[in-house]
Symmetry: C2
Subunit: 137 residues, 2 copies
DNA sequence: GTTGTTGCAAAGAATTTGCAACATA
DNA sequence: TATGTTGCAAATTCTTTGCAACAAC
């Protein structure tokens, strides 16, 4: 894994790298699954760092908005996962929750072709695969 | 559009075709966009039919579970849309909300190929395109 | 009659907002 | 110092549950 400079990532997103934000992003970066605001709040709280739930919510929204995090719906809650800057898709393990990024390949052609035939002006698309990962299968 | 027998659809889903359920499914069938439980509740209420919010929620969950409805996340709310029985994907207009079903085409190949290369056992997948429909573009 | 269904009121749960104290550039 | 940030408490909102009355088979 490439070294990750959390403070720089925050600055790039237009956010001051405060102690709390760094703690949130560090925790997300260390995870291989998507985490919810509540997950992060308990996790940070256990580790003693005093970060408020409100701050966790605000940090996550801002980072998702900035494209630093991908979002996933998980049983009525919003999950967040660190992601690469380039466009990508996901392989989500329904058992352990691990999320792997994968390239779109044929999906991108499908999007173009489909949009053209329906005269649809594409602004974005999303394609995810759910199942069991190598370890859980 | 093929004629739609709402009571039969309900029975197939293992639900008694009560007045309230028929009203809910009728309203969904008449819509070209995904509707939330709250949407449906107000709509049915305006039309005078007395259907409780609880019933709307319960009907929607049951129908989604039975595969009669597709679900979409819309700003923290769950949207529901009538769907065909066969596997399909969507074209969602971000302006007017219209949802069109489309076939997967290359997507299906991509899913197989990707899963194989990552040794992933697929249980489902989802691919949706967002943008402006013909009329809104 | 038996079993499924409804809907109110209350409970639950996630998320947002107001605002005064605080930290950073 | 000016502006961005925090976090508590309260408010919002969506959704679920308990339960007694009711409807369908």
């Amino acid at each position: 894994m490439a070294t990750l400079d959390v403070p720089v990532l925050l600055r790039r997103a237009g956010l001051r790298p405060t102690t709390q934000r760094v703690a949130v992003l560090d925790a997300i970066a260390a995870a291989s699954t998507a985490l919810t605001a509540q997950d992060l709040y308990s996790q940070l709280r256990e580790r003693g760092g005093g970060t408020g739930l409100t701050t966790v919510y605000r940090t996550l929204s801002a980072l998702a908005e900035a494209g630093v995090l991908d979002t996933f719906e998980q049983a009525g809650e919003q999950g967040y996962r660190l992601c690469s800057a380039d466009h990508h898709h996901h392989l989500v393990c329904v058992q352990c929750g691990v999320v792997e990024e994968v390239e779109g390949g044929e999906v991108e052609d499908w999007v173009k072709r489909t949009a053209r035939s329906r005269r649809f002006r594409v602004s974005s698309h999303r394609a995810d695969i759910y199942g069991r990962c190598r370890r859980c299968a």
